[in-house]
């Protein structure tokens, strides 16, 4: 076991502050109606974290229900293909329901139950968070409504059907482009109306405080396991750790333990892959960190794709989980501080990476996760033939069969 894995107190990474600010980003910018609910949520969240009954039940569910720890798989054929020494895939796609989202929804639904709420709502883009929320709600006997853009309902009909099977109501949001941002707006509006009896299970590391820090807390198991698994293999600190970033929950879950536990000079290069869609030089992308300016959307301050008048722009990506015009506030902070590098990946690059992993390793990744995989060939020259890289495979690709077929993969 290598010393550099040991936590280093003097390098402690301590964001956010008590008001939920990561540097200038984050905060609480919402209508007064929901402020008391957020205050109550923050207090309940902090209390729960200090209660061994809560953390114990959460840990048991992650192990016995989700199937954690997820494997850290060494993908040698992939490494050979892209010209790296060793590539490790963190297999969040093997979680129950097929993505990392379930980690967070179990945490939040446990908290909802603890707070005495009988009803949960959620937004969803690709449908993964919706399915994960509906699943946790079914498990805990909570009523569940999932807000989903009409375009995403079209793109992800299988997940819509799954949510209904799980007993959730799927509420279509026709406004705007009918995608993830509109679903968040729909859910927030509904929460303002029903704040008394309803818990909002937010699916990414976005939204007003305490959501970004709460989602990080429930997702940090990804990076914590990865650190332990690397040590268990007597592996060195990797040269790079890659994750895709829409709102940024799988990425922060992976990155945070590396930031917290490793001293600055000993950390791997942390790289977030955001959606370049048809290209960041076009207006059809979701690259908030690459092309956005700081602004407020959905209750928090962060990099945001916006027009001259301050209106949020429609984001686009082939992946329904990444087409969000904002990004989690902690990622904006990490970008400004130079602690994480963010790169934009086009639809075409993601599709090529999707095919590459499928063909070399027999693992069909989500199109979101394919954005992270697409950085492997890009980073390989920089990291060299001995380079060691971890990629978070945040979800599986079953939900994307129609999309990749339409895109012409597999010769159809």
């Amino acid at each position: 076991m290598s010393d550099v894995f040991l936590p280093s107190a003097e390098m402690a990474y301590s964001s956010p502050d008590a008001q939920g600010f990561f540097g200038p980003y984050g905060g609480t910018f919402v209508p007064e109606t929901v402020i008391p609910a957020l205050t109550e949520l923050d207090a309940a969240f902090r209390e729960a974290l200090d209660d061994p009954d809560f953390t114990g039940e959460f840990g048991s569910l992650l192990q016995d229900y989700v199937g954690r720890p997820t494997p850290l798989y060494r993908a040698d054929r992939l490494a050979e293909t892209v010209g790296l020494g060793r590539i490790y895939l963190k297999r969040e796609d093997l979680n129950h329901t097929g993505a990392h989202k379930i980690n967070n929804t179990l945490g939040q639904c446990l908290l909802a139950r603890r707070m005495g709420k009988k009803r949960v709502i959620a937004e969803t883009g690709a449908g993964q968070h919706g399915v994960a929320t509906a699943t946790a709600a079914a498990l805990m006997g909570l009523e569940c409504a999932v807000f989903m853009g009409t375009e995403d309902i079209r793109r992800q009909s299988l997940n819509v059907y799954k949510m209904r099977l799980l007993g959730a109501e799927v509420v279509p949001v026709a406004e705007g482009s009918g995608t993830l941002a509109d679903a968040v707006t729909g859910a927030l509006r509904h929460w303002v109306e029903r704040v008394g009896d309803t818990f909002y299970v937010l699916g990414s590391a976005v939204g007003p405080h305490p959501y970004p820090v709460m989602v990080r807390e429930f997702q940090k198991v990804i990076g914590e396991e990865t650190l332990v698994q690397l040590q268990g293999r007597a592996e060195r600190v990797p040269d790079a750790v890659i994750a895709c970033v829409g709102g940024g929950s799988n990425a922060i879950g992976m990155f945070y333990p590396f930031l917290r536990d490793l001293p600055a000079g000993k950390r791997p290069l942390l790289v977030g892959a955001e959606a370049a869609g048809l290209g960041v030089e076009t207006d059809r992308h979701g690259a908030a960190l690459t092309k956005g300016l700081p602004g407020v959307l959905h209750g928090f301050y962060s990099y945001l794709l916006q027009d001259e008048a301050g209106n949020p722009l429609e984001a686009y990506s082939i992946s329904a989980g990444l087409d969000y015009p904002g990004v989690g506030p902690e990622h904006s902070y990490l970008k400004d501080e130079g602690l994480v590098r963010y790169e934009a990946v086009t639809d075409a690059e993601a599709l090529a990476a999707f095919a590459m992993l499928t063909e070399t390793e027999g693992i069909i990744p989500a199109i979101e996760s394919s954005h992270a995989l697409a950085l492997l060939p890009r980073l390989a020259p920089e990291l060299g033939a001995d380079g060691v890289v971890v990629v978070n495979v945040s979800g599986r690709g079953d939900k994307d069969m129609d999309i990749v077929r339409e895109a012409g993969l597999g010769g159809e």
Partner: protein, 265 residues
């Protein structure tokens, strides 16, 4: 207007001592610039005491379908915060010193994109008396308040607000306190909450400012009922629904004004 003192331009002068004020919400640039300007004059002639001019925004979190759809139309016509301030300036210049004071209702991001200092300077120049920013709670208002001298900032109180929150909102507000009648978004509703009277009293206990009630007031009967409880009645969606016809706006505002004046305050 720039020569007038802050008090003369403030929102407070729209609140008569002997009765409740009628606060009329209109969407800037809806359905087009000329019609929205005509609607502003129509509302003033009809008897509006204060005008709340909505700034079209692409993610109106606190608004129901009527105002959200009007905002979409106005934005397609090129309207944003800058255009809304210019519209207010033109209305106030034309209407003269007796014009009802104008508060801009804008979401926070347009204000931040323009920059608090630049936005505040433009508003002062235009004679705008105040702003209402539904997604800017008092704790998040420091950058704006540092720049907005001479412009009243109205904060919102909600049925869910705790006494501590009401104290914060009451002491941070200037001009009046906007009391949201119900949880939820803007839009017409058929009945008023039975707890509204108690809510207004709780808000009053934490401020010396007038307390205006909005969200869900759809017609003269409700306006009269609210006028019996609060210091101001805000009518929004029901006016915006008529905004493409300034004559209809004037007639409707006259009805509302009559109802508010007949109510005992």
């Amino acid at each position: 207007m720039a020569s007038e003192g802050a008090a003369a331009r403030g929102l407070g002068r729209g609140f008569p001592a002997d009765r409740a004020a009628l606060v009329i919400y209109l969407m800037a640039g809806y359905p087009d610039r000329a019609t929205s300007l005509a609607a502003l004059h129509a509302a003033a002639r009809g008897g509006a005491d204060v005008i709340e001019l909505g700034v079209p925004y692409g993610n109106p979190l606190a608004d129901g379908p009527t105002i959200a759809e009007a905002a979409t139309v106005a934005r397609e016509g090129g309207f944003g915060l800058g255009e809304s301030i210019a519209l207010a300036a033109e209305f106030l210049a034309e209407a003269g010193p007796d014009a009802p004071p104008v508060a801009l209702m804008t979401y926070l991001n347009p204000l931040m994109r323009m920059g608090p200092a630049r936005a505040a300077a433009a508003m002062r120049e235009a004679g705008v008396a105040g702003v209402i920013v539904p997604d800017m709670p008092p704790e998040a208002a420091r950058p704006w308040l540092a720049a907005s001298g001479g412009i009243d900032t109205v904060f919102l109180a909600a049925p869910t607000s705790t006494p501590e929150r009401l104290a914060t909102v009451g002491s941070a507000s200037a001009g009046f306190v906007y009391c949201v009648s119900t949880t939820g978004v803007t839009g017409e509703r058929t009945g008023l909450s039975a707890e509204l009277g108690g809510l207004v009293e709780s808000v009053r206990a934490h401020t010396t400012l007038p307390v205006a009630v909005g969200f869900g007031v759809s017609g003269p009967e409700q306006a009269a009922a609210v006028a019996g409880i609060a210091d101001g009645v805000v009518v929004g969606s029901a006016v915006v629904r008529r905004q493409d016809d300034p004559f209809a706006v004037e007639a409707f505002v006259e009805l509302l004004a009559g109802a508010v004046r007949s109510a005992r305050s």
